[in-house]
Amino acid sequence: MIRLRQLVRVALLSAEMGLRHAATDAFVIFAVFVQPLIIAVLGLFMLRERGGDYGMFVVVGSGLTGLWSSLLFVSGNAITTERWTGTLEVLVGMPTPLWVVVLGKNLAHVLQSLGSMVLAYVAASLLFGYPLTIAQPVPFLISLVFIVISFVCFGLLLSPLFIVNPDVQRFQNGLEYPIYILCGFLFPILLLPGWTNPVSYALSPYWAARALHAAAAGEATAASLALDWGLMLALGAAYIALSAFLFKRLLDKARRDATLGFQ
């Protein structure tokens, strides 16, 4: 019976490892920090016309694009990179389940990507010449906690998905903008045709954006937050369930087809 303590330790060490690898990777730095910053600049110029308090709106929206990029490219590739370094075989042969290692890495990536929101905040504040204010800071911070939990679960789903079905991975690059659009990062989804809404509702980044935008603008109510947080947790649980299924499939398939080793 594997003790919980040991698994937690593995997860934390995997997180530390993930951070160290990702901190120096040029690709990660671009996708998670530079690109969202460019989107922030674009957003700030474009939405200036609209007027109103668009500063924090852009910060939140562009920060979320950074979180998503990290999830899509870094967490999504978690298992694939293990295969490249030849360590996947070693990991699978260990008594620790693979998903614990992936969970740890996801935690590191999500926490790191929060940095993109911080960066956007600094840039926007500089541009405006004064620090931007968050209307409801406590709900905002609590929302961030829920977001970390929910995104870690989403990442847990993506990494086996990309390995089990390599065709999905080919569309990896094309999945950036659709999420920005469907999850209402930088504009509300009421601009979209109604039939796309169910897709939006099934994605936890949508509820993340809702919660953060509302808290930043001072429009969050207990009811709206309960809905956002609740759904982030519920979807997180669903993602975990799906990922458990995928991990089992991944390992069975790999053992059968001998694809654990470097291809």
Partner: protein
Amino acid sequence: MNAIKVDDLHRTYTVRTGIIRRSVKHVVAVDGISFEVQPGELFGLLGPNGAGKTTTVKMLTTLLLPTSGTASVAGYDVVRQGQQVRQRIGFIFGGERGLYWRLNGYDNLRYFASLYHVEPDVARRRIPELLELVGLEDRADEKVEGYSRGMKQRLHVARTLLHDPEILFLDEPTIGLDPVGARQLRQVIRDMQQERKTILLTTHYMFEADALCDRIGVIDHGKIVALDTPEGLKRHVSDLSVIEVEVYGIPPETVDQIRNLPFVDTLAVEDRDQRQALRVQTPRGSEAVPDLMASLNGVRVGRVQVREPTLEDAYVRLVSGVDGSG
């Protein structure tokens, strides 16, 4: 109880080639092997490349599912009780990969220790011991990407010992190492055997198997063609003497001619710069020398030597599938 028990294990790969016109090939990697390894034994799987050694080890370490047959490690079935197996084994597939190159040696071991569920205080004590055992204590704080191949191999060995497993699987551990490094590693393996661990080693170096192993299973084309102690295997060819002849520029037709001589069991030709060394296994011993020289008419001959067969000769005979025919 056996440490490792393999019963009629099979593994077939399906290879799909082509994009437009798909063709499916079935490659049989392991073709019904059976053997047992006793606790504390150092067992060798000896065979040429592609014989099925690595495939067998991957099945025993739960990384690959057999197509049929059963195997158990430490009493646990490798397919159905994989988790229990993984807790009790260590394995090396070696090579450049399988380590985190951006971390240093110490941190690699620290990470793997946690994956093996080694308690932190135990790990803190054991890691320096292991680093010293494999001779890496001075280089432990350097990033693995700067390690030589031999150093990486030694770090792999340290990794497998972190959780003090009862059974070790070493797949071609000295391949690609320089002679000094290889010798060091073999000593480490001997030390591990002193600690009464069960070790299954695969190799294609005859002398390594001879030097280290208690028993050797000779594997070729997915089948075990012989299973015995090194001495026993040598006895397998004791009825044969080996005549070694050094020649200068022997034409291929003459080689075939000699191979087909009635008293020649097997003929192996080794190239050494401008010379070739012919190794003829024959039951007639030194009596066969004149006839052999006669068939070498016209070829410039150097040294001629008649000697006792070695493990390598036994291996050649077994692996060429010969027993009486040429």
